[in-house]
Symmetry: C2
Subunit: 144 residues, 2 copies
């Protein structure tokens, strides 16, 4: 029945998501960061020197979180990012990645690439594209 297929689809997305989440988390753990923390660092690297403020980071995060402030706090403690108050708008903060943060990402990049390739190794190129196409339909479904 259709209803069963819907349920199976939902469960298979969830399971695969959890699996990938767990595997990447265990990789990042070796570098003493969490997956969301890594995600933030990568967003900041993408800024190419320009700072980002909290709300920008939140928007771009793979998993939107309720508490990005404390996540940044931890990255600051580890020396991977810096935080300043924005001159123009003192409500905002400006967040930068440090050299140490860039070095960390650099040391993770290759490992991550091979991990990701491994996870998807059974998929042909077409299947990856198909996956992206179908999943993006779900992403763009607005829920009330």
């Amino acid at each position: 029945m259709e209803e069963q297929i819907i349920r199976d689809t939902v469960i298979s997305i969830l399971k695969t998501g959890y699996k990938i989440n767990d595997e990447l988390s265990s990789l990042f753990k070796k570098f003493d960061i969490s997956l969301p923390q890594f995600n933030v660092l990568r967003i900041l690297r993408g800024q190419k020197g320009k700072p980002a403020n909290l709300s920008t980071i939140q928007e771009r995060m793979v998993h939107k979180m309720s508490n990005t402030t404390r996540l940044i706090d931890k990255l600051i403690l580890k020396g991977f990012v810096k935080r300043n108050i924005c001159e123009n708008n003192r409500r905002k903060i400006e967040i930068y990645i440090t050299n140490s943060g860039l070095q960390l990402l650099d040391s993770i990049d290759d490992l991550l690439n091979s991990k990701e390739s491994f996870i998807l190794k059974k998929l042909k190129l077409d299947e990856k594209k198909e996956l992206i196409r179908i999943l993006s339909k779900i992403q763009t479904t607005q829920v009330n």
Copy 2:
């Protein structure tokens, strides 16, 4: 480049997983349970009266967790399940769903079905099947 597509695929699976996770969580929250708790209740209902022990439940969970004991504790506190020590093997415990738990599931079923349908409403039947097929390839990829 291929590497970029791999990354995009991984991110799109993660994002979709988080999205579905969050939406279902917010539905279950109305009933004062979490998604993993719901999952356990549904596993127990599937036992059709027979008890399940902790390790069985853990194996079947959508998201394997490190701490199923306390998850069950919470369900017991709410009166949705019961726990006994197994007669044959006193290391094991036997977990049952109560009538109250069954009623809860019953009251959730319809809402959940329509939520799931809504989430996947943009997908044709073939696309759902294709999704399941491709994702199962990832599921069966053993990571060292």
